[in-house]
């Protein structure tokens, strides 16, 4: 399982990577916004994308839209981990095709639960 973690803050990437490692996912790579993430996704064989929303360059929502519009990437499971906490925003992310939505600050248990749920659906 190869995972791309996208967040503009290196500390948050590190936290997410640590949590993923604890959950048994050791093959992770990082990008600091949508613009750097998109080419990595297009050229790499990633199985899962964990992205923040609010980033310079390209936001996580735009990244999600690009992923869904790309024939090769459109089925990639995407989990959004973000501080954006307005109903309108969550609805917009859902409409754009997000697979899970975690609001910051979050716990390891919540992240695990959402990831498990996403893979249950994807595999089931």
């Amino acid at each position: 399982m190869k995972i791309l973690v996208v967040d503009d803050f290196s500390t948050m990437r590190r936290i997410v990577k640590n949590l993923l490692r604890d959950l048994g996912f050791t093959n992770t790579q990082e990008a600091d916004d949508g613009l750097t993430a998109l080419p990595m996704l297009q050229s790499g064989d990633f199985d899962f994308l964990v992205t923040d929303w609010n980033m310079p360059g390209m936001t996580g929502l735009d990244l999600l839209k690009h992923v869904r519009a790309d024939d090769k990437l459109k089925t990639l499971p995407v989990l959004m981990v973000t501080a954006e906490a307005k109903r309108d925003q969550i609805v917009a992310a859902a409409q754009a095709g997000v697979n899970g939505y975690v609001v910051k600050p979050f716990t390891a248990a919540v992240l695990k639960e959402k990831i498990d749920k996403i893979f249950e659906r994807v595999e089931g």
Binding site: F9, S10, T11, R14, I15, N18, W53, N54, M55, T59, G60, L61, T82, A83, E84, A85, K86, R87, D88, Q89, I90, V91, A92, A94, Y101, V102, V103, K104, F106, V110
Partner: protein
């Protein structure tokens, strides 16, 4: 900060206008048109003078406001706003450093703790065997060596973990420093706001004298326009606001209502 108060001894615009208006009525009643025109000229003069005064104050106020914001620190040529940006960049740097230091220490400590745990589990298995009298004499001799090694190693690990934990505590000292910096920036923002409010009050005086009124066309946004703009806003400080979720449970409820 320089004050923008009016001269308290000067008669107000209203007082002057009132006196002149009364004078004007008297002159009209007196029937001397030449004097009436003279008073009208006086009225115009007072109005113009007041207008120039107010515009002068407004200009001076703007100048002072810019000067005040700039003079955050006499030793520096940077403006207060530049300094505030630098200060906030310092906050980001400090919090970033503290977060990474804390994570470094926690990551160093985790394997040590795991070593203690795994060692204890292994010893307990052997110990249970011993209690059940299942250990052969040579196995028992091996066990005593293992216990001895474990006791030494655990002490070393525990000491390291203790020092890592206290370093983690120390790494939180950023809160004090960043807190002070943020308080200063907050103060600057409040000062800028006060300045702007003063300027608006002065501009209002000019508007009143000239009879200018501003339309309110630029502030309304239709709900449809607002709906279209789904943009990143950063963390919501007040989760009691309308349309803001209170936490992960609300997010889950909302998503499940959308069929997730």
């Amino acid at each position: 900060m320089a004050e923008l108060q009016l001269d308290p001894h000067a008669p107000s615009f209203q007082q002057e206008m009132k006196a002149l208006a009364e004078d004007l009525l008297q002159k009209i009643d007196g029937g001397d048109l030449g004097k009436v025109v003279g008073v009208v000229n006086n009225i115009n003069e007072v109005r113009d003078r007041t207008l120039y005064d107010e515009i002068g104050k407004l200009t001076r106020g703007l100048h002072n406001a810019i000067k005040d914001i700039k003079s955050g620190d006499e030793l520096s040529e940077d403006s207060g706003i530049d300094q505030a940006s630098d200060k906030l960049a310092y906050v980001i740097e400090m919090t970033d450093k503290a977060a990474n230091r804390t994570m470094d220490l926690a990551e160093e400590g985790m394997p040590l703790n795991l070593e203690n745990l795994e060692g204890a589990i292994k010893l307990q298995e052997q110990w249970q065997k011993f209690l059940r009298k299942e250990l052969k004499p040579n196995e028992f001799r091996e066990l005593t060596k293992q216990i001895d090694a474990y006791l030494s190693q655990t002490q070393i690990n525990s000491k390291k973990i203790s020092s890592q934990l206290s370093d983690i505590l120390m790494a939180q000292d950023f809160q004090d420093l960043t807190g002070q910096v943020i308080q200063r920036v907050t103060k600057l923002v409040a000062e800028v706001e006060t300045r702007l409010v003063d300027l608006i009050a002065m501009a209002g005086e000019v508007d009143r004298i000239t009879g200018i009124s501003h339309g309110e066309s630029d502030q309304t946004e239709t709900p449809q326009e607002k709906d279209k703009k789904i943009i990143a806003e950063g963390p919501q400080i007040d989760t009691s606001l309308d349309g803001v979720v209170g936490g992960q449970d609300d997010v889950d409820d909302l998503l499940s209502s959308l069929g997730f």
